[in-house]
């Protein structure tokens, strides 16, 4: 647990530092990692590899919801590539679709934060939230 808190703190620091330095690519990569970090314990709970814990579920979904609102400005047209970015140019050429995908991520995570009360409701919401990852990467991320 302690290690996780430290890891989360380091990641948060990374995000803040990235923005402070005006490096949106580093910032969005750190934020993606944060989302992945929130995904980890939830996937483990969904697979039954870890006992269900409501507080962890809510905190992880909250992290994702926060990220969903913060991603937009981290993809300015001035930072399309470089720094091993795997962003697809469709983010900019299909801005409407991209914004809709972000909005969906925001809506789904907000709904999940509100709906998750126990293990059963968590499992029902988890799939919907997780589908956002692949759903968006399918179109807006190049191969990696």
């Amino acid at each position: 647990m302690k290690r996780m808190i430290i890891a989360a703190a380091v990641l948060t620091l990374g995000v803040t530092a990235g923005i402070a330095q005006g490096d949106p690519i580093a910032a969005r990569k750190a934020m993606m990692k944060e989302v992945g970090g929130a995904m980890g314990p939830m996937a483990a709970m969904n697979k039954g590899e870890r006992p269900f814990d409501l507080a962890t579920a809510k905190a992880s979904l909250g992290t994702m919801n926060k990220a969903s609102k913060a991603f937009g400005p981290l993809f300015p047209a001035t930072a399309k590539s470089g720094g091993e970015s795997t962003a697809d140019e469709k983010i900019w050429s299909d801005a409407a679709g991209w914004n809709a995908a972000l909005k969906k991520f925001e809506t789904d995570t907000a709904a999940a934060v509100a709906a998750v009360k126990d293990e059963a409701s968590f499992k029902a919401e988890f799939g919907k939230v997780a589908a956002n990852c692949g759903g968006c990467h399918n179109t807006y991320r190049i191969k990696k």
């Binding site: 993606m32 990692k33 989302v35 992945g36 970090g37 995904m39 980890g40 996937a43 697979k47 091993e84 795997t86 697809d88 997780a130 990852c133 692949g134 759903g135 990467h137 399918n138 807006y140 991320r141 190049i142 191969k143 990696k144």
Partner: protein
Amino acid sequence: MIGRLVKLGAMLGLLGLAGFFALTEPAVLSALKGSALPVASGAPDLANGKTMFHAGGCASCHATEKQDDKTRLGGGHALHSPFGTFYVPNISPHPRDGIGGWTAEQFLRAMREGVSPEGRHYYPSFPYTSYQRMTAKDVGDLFAFLKTLPPIEGRIRDHDLPFPFNIRRSLGGWKLLFADGQVYRPDPAKSAEWNRGAYLVEGPGHCAECHSPRNPLGGITSGKRFAGGPDPEGKGYVPNITPHETGLKSWTKKDLAYLLESGFTPDYDSVGGSMTPVIGNTGQLSAQDRNAMAEYLSTLPAIEGRKKGAK
């Protein structure tokens, strides 16, 4: 003297041309390699056909563009490559525009030899170099399953390839180099699970087709199978999936199986690009089949690929 030389040259040229035509004729190739297989007898197993449909990832390329139903195989997807743009054909069971009028023999030959019912070579953008490993039974079941899907109207335009890649005949030479027509042969020294995984990965799954670098002729670079390479569609890099430091060395068999189920890597990154639809297919296989694929992938020889950070 000079006249004779010219004559000799002309004769040699003609011989060469005759040889080219003989060797690149689809029927000759088939006879030469003894790769033709008889069609499987007996009633087709539709459930197995559906498994092959998902394992083969047919819908990833052939599903009708700009809609979400993966059982509508009207084609139209543009596949960009260094050799030009391929337009994926309609393989729905439409009698005129798809494969509705095909016989089981024609389908088997298309899948395993890369030859159309009219006797023309297919380009290897259709991965028959992998599908040739499939058994006649699995291909037959797949054909029967495809016939149960909705027929879609509309023929797809021809490929847009510059000279000399637009000469289909030359693919005969390509096949001599890169296709051997051999069905997967189980390794008796390995477990049934490993063999099932090897069959799925090397045959229908055609994983190596994207996860390997290609030589200037467009064949997989020998010794680098599964070591990753530049994305042939020109965007990004396809990862090394061998258990090398530059690949998936730290991944367990469970990690591999979970990726094939969910699209999540061990650190919960979610794979993107054309791997997302692949997961859409492998996610529908049985857990047993995914575990088998993971078992085989985890035993691949470790091959060095691109180092992290390198361009």
